[in-house]
Every structure is written in C-alpha cells, then in structure tokens.
C-alpha cells in the first residue's frame, strides 16, 4: 500500500471513529496517561524580541527606539529579559514556574519569509517542504500513541489545522458552530439519518459536542476565549491534545498598538484555559508557536518585518517555567542572521520533541524518525516539571 492510499484509508477509519465514539466506547483502549498538551499557533509571526524582551541589550534598545520606549514597564524575567507589559496578567504564572519561554529558536524554514510556507513548515514539522505536505506533526504524534481514539486530539476553530491533519484519528470542532435546528428540525433530521450510519453517527456526535458547552457560559465570551473554553472542556473529558490558532501577529506597522492587543488576547486565552482546566491545569503543558520571528530593527512605520529567529512561549502546571531557555546568540552586528534577524540557535522542534517525550513517553527513535523525521533531538532542555 502506498503512502497516499494508506493516508486515505486510515483517514476514513479515523473519521468514522471520530463519528462513533459514543457507539462503541469500550472497543478502544483507555486514554493513555493524564498529561495534556495544548498547541497554540500564533499565525502571522510573533515578534519574540518584543514579547520576551532582551532589555539588558543596548543594541536592542538602539535598534528599536519606539518599541523599546516602555522597556522598564514589563515584569523582570531574569537573565536580562523582561516581559511585554501586555502580558502582565501572566506574570504571576511566571513567578509560579507555570510560564516560561524558549528564545532564539525557529523551524528550519529560512530566507523566503512567507507566512504560508512558514506556517506549513511549522505545522508539517518537516526539515523542508520539498517532499510536499502530507500531514502535521501532532497527527504523527497521535499515530504513536497506542490505542488513540478520535476524540483524543482536537483541532479547534475555523482555521485549517494542518498540524493535526493526517492518517491518525483526530477530531475537529469549532465552538461557534451551531446546527441552527429547532427541536422539531432536529428530530426530523435524526429520522432521516437513522438508516445511514455515516450521517447518523456524525449528526449524533455533532449534537453532543454542540450541546456540551451551555449557551449561558458562551455568552459574553470573545472568540479566543471560546476556543480556550472549548479546548478545556474537551481536555477535562477524553481529549489529551488540543490545538487552535490565534491570529493578529503580523505587526508591520504601529506594533505598539497591534502587538498589545494580540498579547492581551493571548493572556485571556491562557487564563481561560487555566480556569477551564481546573485541577487538570497542573498536568497540562501549553506551547505557543509562531512561523518565524521578526526583524531585529524596527521599520519606518513603527513595526517590524518578517524575520527568522523568535520565541516560543510555554504555560501550564506540567512545565518547569520561570526561565528563558536559550542559547542566546547576542544582538551585535555580527551576531544577527543575514545581518537583520535574531539568529536561531536551535531548532524549536527539538524542544517540542523533548516535551512530547516527557508528556507521552515517545522514544527518541519515534521522535527523530516519525514525528519530526530527520531531526537531531540533541540534549534535553528540561522543559517539564
């Protein structure tokens, strides 16, 4: 069987499993373990140098005259770094060791700085795009978890989530989906689907999921909070992996305004996850990834342009936070990548790999050959508590 046929047929399996967990729950293995992983994709390229700020660097201050103006306002993170003030609500998490950052990292994507390709690389988890896109690394992770059933891993929201696409079973849902059915319409459609197992199972599951968050709880919640609420709701049930995206990071102009609002949404999202997860937060790792960093120097419109190295943010009770983890390259003229960007000193997939190893017990071989094929994991950065 060739790769594509395999993907297709297992996709069919995966989706029918997605549609029928209610029908045959005992046919599947119990949920493996109690650790949870949330991957948030920050689409648009988050400026790591403005979020986890190297405030001790005179070069940084000089290169960003307007953006560094409030450098003293953010929480001190130690090691010469400070937090962007818009993430102030999360500073207590940092103090508690439940927030951390990995800095001067990137995927292997270089030079062309396209959002499309950069996000594809990030989600595919591959060393290059030349082999073409087949599936995402979270999907290959699920494929390595014995007995994984479709509701183990959720892609949430309206965005295409290549990261979880592929042969292994997975589920997807968007919290704003409403079936728009009256009780009468629902009964009629159920009757029509009765003799059609494919549609019947999908309808049954759709109605169950759509009804799982009470309308009252959704009222007054912004879109990003609904994503987090829904993720938390699933993760306190059978799901152990969830992924969704937050947009608004492409700050070419007036970054002081644009980034502030994106970061406020991120902070609210993280707090919504923590609130919704309750005690499960202690066993959760949240990782926020972006396709690439932004230019070291601010541009002529108070923003930054597409760059290379950047930061990943970590949250949750399962991580060992309170630190900036980095092999810091420096910001002197000769230290930059191509004379313009923060130099990535490590492949962010290595950090992810070590996290997956700790959370789900994946072997080095599985990580280096299946989840992130061709990656050299290197030494353990010790991201987990």
């Amino acid at each position: 069987m060739d790769r594509r046929t395999f993907l297709r047929s297992s996709l069919a399996l995966g989706c029918s499993a997605a549609a029928s967990p209610l029908a045959t729950p005992m046919a599947f293995a119990e949920v493996p373990g109690d650790r949870r992983l949330v991957v948030i994709l920050l689409r648009g390229a988050m400026d790591g140098l403005d979020v986890i700020r190297p405030v001790a660097s005179p070069e940084w201050r000089a290169a960003r005259p307007s953006l560094a103006a409030d450098a003293g306002a953010g929480a001190d993170l130690g090691g010469g770094f400070a937090l962007h003030p818009a993430l102030g609500a999360l500073a207590p998490l940092w103090q508690a060791g439940q927030m951390g950052a990995v800095h001067a990292v990137s995927t292997p994507y270089r030079d062309k700085r396209s959002h499309f390709d950069g996000q594809d690389m990030l989600e595919a988890g591959l060393g290059s795009l030349e082999e073409g896109l087949r599936d995402g690394w979270l999907n290959r992770l699920v494929g390595q978890i014995p007995g994984a059933r479709a509701d183990l891993a959720y892609a949430i929201g309206r965005e295409r989530m290549l990261i979880l696409d592929g042969a292994a079973p997975h589920a997807s849902w968007s919290p704003e989906v409403s079936l728009l059915l009256t009780p009468q319409g629902q009964r009629l459609l159920e009757q029509l689907c009765e003799r059609d197992p494919l549609f019947g199972a999908a309808l049954e599951e759709a109605m169950a999921v759509a009804g799982s968050l009470p309308e009252a709880e959704l009222a007054g919640r912004a879109d990003h909070e609904r994503l987090a609420d829904f993720a938390a709701e699933r993760l306190t049930g059978a799901a152990r992996i969830a992924s969704f995206s937050l947009n608004g990071w492409d700050t070419h102009a007036r970054q002081d305004v644009a980034l502030k609002s994106a970061l406020s949404r991120l902070a609210e999202t993280v707090l919504a996850l923590r609130g919704g997860l309750g005690p499960a937060w202690e066993r959760t790792a949240v990782v926020c990834l972006t396709e690439f960093g932004r230019t070291f120097r601010e541009n002529g419109t108070g923003g930054t342009d597409h760059g290379t190295g950047g930061a990943a943010l970590l949250f949750g009770g399962a991580i060992r936070g309170g630190r900036v983890i980095s092999d810091w390259p420096g910001l002197g003229e000769g230290d930059l990548y191509a004379g313009r960007d923060l130099l990535p000193t490590r492949d962010v997939r290595a950090h992810l790999g070590w996290m997956l190893s700790g959370l789900f017990g994946l072997s080095r071989t599985a990580l280096e050959q299946v989840v992130f094929p061709g990656l050299d994991l290197g030494a353990d950065p010790g991201l987990l508590a």
């Binding site: 594509r4 896109l133 319409g185 029509l192 309808l203």
Partner: protein, 459 residues
C-alpha cells in the same frame, strides 16, 4: 442497470434542476461535454492570459510601493496598490460566483463535473497573495478546453502551465551540469514537479517507477521555466541538463529542446500504468468509492486502445452497468453540495450576479471552509480527499446543516418543501423525506432538512 436520467444528473452532474431537463440518454450526456454551454459565456471566468495582467500590475505596484516609501508619492502609490489588491480579491470572488452559476444553470452538468475533476487532478495552489486570483483562470485556460481530448494534450497543457511551474517549483530547477550551473547561476535540480507528475498525474503512487525515474524526469524537465515577468512559460536550453535521460525504460533525445519534454509527457500519458491509475480515479470519483474491477478494466483498456482518448474512456465508464447502480456511495464534496442546492432551488445568475463580491464570499465561499473544503485551497498537490468519511465528520456535517438551514432563504424566495423534495430528488425522495418536508415547522427548516438529508448529500 442501464442509463437513468435522474442518476445522470445526480451522479454525473450537479443534481436535478427545475429549469433544465436531464439528458435523455448516454449519447446526449456525452455530447454535452464537447462544447461550452451558453452559461459559460454568461458567467465568464477570464483565462490566465488575461488575468495575469493583474498579477503583473500587483508586482509592479509592490515594487513601486517599496521605492516610494518616504517620498511625496508614497500615499498615492499605496492607494493604487490597495485598490489593485482589492480588484484581485474581487476577481477571485467573482470567479467563485461564476463557478456556482455555471454549475447551477448548465445543461451539461457532466462537463462541469469533469472540469472540476481534472482541476483537482492537476491541483495548483496560489503561491502567495499575488497568485490568489489566478487558480480559476488556470483551470479556464488549461483544463476546460481539453477535458474531451486525448489525455496527452490535457497533461501537457496542465503540467507545463505557468501556475503548475510556479506551484511545483519547476522554474528554479536547473540541470547540475547545465551551462547555467557551470556559469554559476546558483540553484540546482528540483524534483518536485517530476515526482508529482509520476505519482499523481500519470503512473500513480505504487506504480512501476523508482526514485531514479523521478531524478531522470526532473533532469529532462530542466529548461522549462516561467519567469514571472513574462506572459507565459518558455524553454531555456542553457538551464537544461545535457545528455539523454531514461524514464521508465525509455531513452529520450539528448537534444535540449521543448520537444523532448513533450515526447516524455506523451509517453507517460499513454503508459498502461497511467491508463489504470487515472481510470480508477475517474471511476472512484464518479461511480463508487470502491469501483468494480471490471469497470476499471474496461476504462483502462479503452484508454490503451484509443491512446488515451478521454471521451472514449468516459463512454466506457457510462456503458458499464455499475455506473447506473442504485446504491449511492459517493458524497457530494462541499462545493458540489452547495452548487447542487443552488441548482435545485433555481438560484443562478439572477440571484448571484447582483450580489457584491463580499456577499458572494460570505454566503458561498466562507461556508466551504467550515465544511472542510476552503475554495481553491486543498492542502497539497494531491487535491481533495476522496473518502466519503473525510467529508462527513461531525464538524463538517454540522456546517452543511447550518448552511442548509440559514443561507438559501437569504438568496431566493423558498419553494414549498413538499414540492421541493420532488424537485430535488424526484422519485429518489424517500417516504421519510417527503414526510419530513411535510412535518417541518417552517418553510426554511423544511428546505434545510431536505438539503441536509443523506438522500440529498449522496449521489
């Protein structure tokens, strides 16, 4: 099982229409694919050769915009760039509207379905915003005129089209020992197009080719480029790898010229593995998720006998009893679901043309994403999934239901659901469906329940 006019429309077209009678027989069904239906002129999509001027304008304006920063022309140039970008976005949305109008009003649904099948077989994606309005124009120019021709002609046009050369990275590919490489132009061989050509467009994954064939074919293709400031593709001998290449046992001319590339594509188009691979894909797409072996055999042997005459291959498919089997195992993909809903409701030019582009997008474009088929944006060159189960997930089905419940009412005056059940499905409307049409509390919900029903989703 023999020809059935209802299945002709439902299985091989975009469903029943209250305005257009189904083809009377297989001969009429086949006849319709050879020439444009009048609606293609009434709802035009510009060919690539026309639409590419907007691409060039955008490129020029982006450059001008960068150069004008900080000068007195800055605002004026930025405004022109903005306006031209808007124009490109609107064109893409009009293309979507035109695609729906064509599917809704055509008297040859089979022709439209074939165009969609081959557009998917030869998937291209926009490389960046600059290309976003060019996918439908590529289909209009490269695919649509050749759906009933020998496969080699379709293959050559699609694979060597600027959009494919851009999408699969052919332009940067140069022969490692070419003059261009020796003169230090940088770059090297890129196997992307060659690999997909063998794996997807011709022989098929799992077919009788090796990595060596991919490499040789990639070398053979060097020289074919689309330089983006030029109107179309060209052949540059100085980029071509010298020497004769051997692909699947056949040795091709060592002459660095386009003719060698054409010969290789003709050879691949007529290859028995191609005949089988593409016939099976057609049969899966139109007839059954798992088509009977003798159907595929009949199509593949017609392919071999006629040198890949596509019209003859379609005729072989339609002549097989399985084509008219009563069991409907295929699911309409999201575009086809919406299009067939519009067709059954007689929503066409009159309703769609006056809508501003952003309304076309919000009512008929955005919902495709919710159903799992973002317009013109499949994940990779292998196009959209074939498996029924890939489309009927809880999330995707929920999106179909909510579209069916809400959107049609905003586009037209809804018919009586009892009559609509017959319009949409004729005698295929089950007693349960006719009961549901009668029992729904409102007209909108009655129509919605019919459109969302498995009866209407299957073909």
């Amino acid at each position: 099982m023999a020809y059935d006019p209802l299945l002709a429309e439902i299985r091989f077209g975009f469903g029943l229409s209250p305005l257009a009678p189904p083809p009377s027989g297989a001969a009429e069904l086949l006849e319709g694919i050879h020439r444009p239906d009048v609606v293609e002129h009434l709802a035009p999509i510009p060919p690539f050769s026309e639409a590419v001027t907007l691409f060039h304008d955008l490129r020029d304006l982006r450059r001008a915009d960068r150069e004008a920063r900080g000068t007195s022309r800055e605002e004026a140039v930025a405004a022109r760039l903005q306006a031209t970008s808007q124009e490109a976005v609107k064109l893409r949305r009009r293309n979507l509207g035109a695609a729906y109008i064509r599917a809704s009003e055509t008297r040859s649904g089979f022709r439209e379905r074939l165009v969609a099948f081959w557009a998917d077989h030869f998937t291209v994606r926009a490389k960046s915003f600059l290309f976003q309005h060019l996918v439908a124009p590529y289909v209009e120019e490269a695919i649509r005129p050749r759906i009933a021709m020998p496969y080699a002609r379709l293959l050559k046009e699609a694979v060597l089209h600027p959009m494919m050369l851009a999408y699969l990275d052919q332009t940067p590919s140069i022969g490692p020992n070419s003059r261009a490489a020796e003169e230090g132009g940088g770059g090297g061989l890129n196997e992307n197009l060659a690999r997909e050509l063998l794996e997807l467009h011709t022989i098929g994954a799992g077919g009788p080719y090796s990595q060596m064939d991919v490499r040789e074919l990639a070398e053979l293709l060097t020289g074919v480029v689309w330089y983006q400031d030029e109107p179309g593709r060209s052949y540059r001998p100085r980029r071509a790898e010298p020497g004769a290449e051997v692909v699947l046992g056949r040795t091709f001319s060592s002459e660095a010229e386009l003719r060698t590339v054409m010969e290789a594509l003709e050879f691949l188009a007529a290859h028995p593995a191609t005949a089988r691979h593409v016939s099976a894909k057609l049969a899966r797409s139109f007839v059954a998720e798992v088509p009977p072996a003798d159907l595929v055999d009949a199509m593949a042997s017609t392919w071999e006998e006629t040198g890949g005459d596509l019209a003859a291959v379609y005729a072989a498919m339609l002549a097989h009893p399985a084509a008219w089997g009563p069991e409907r195992t295929r699911i309409k993909p999201p575009f086809d679901f919406i299009a067939s809903s519009l067709r059954a409701l007689a929503i066409g030019r009159t309703e769609i043309t006056p809508l501003p582009e952003y309304r076309v997008w919000s009512k008929l474009g955005v919902p495709l994403r919710g159903m799992g088929q973002p317009w013109e944006s499949p994940v990779g060159p292998d196009g959209w999934p074939e498996a029924a189960a890939a489309w009927v997930t809880p999330q995707f089905y929920a999106a179909r239901i909510s579209w069916a419940m809400r959107t049609p009412a905003g586009l037209t005056e809804l018919p009586d659901p009892r009559a609509f059940a017959i319009t949409a499905l004729g005698p295929l409307a089950s007693p349960e469906l006719r009961f549901a049409a009668l029992a729904a509390e409102t007209r909108g919900e009655g129509i919605g329940v019919i459109l969302a029903s498995p009866d209407f989703q299957r073909r």
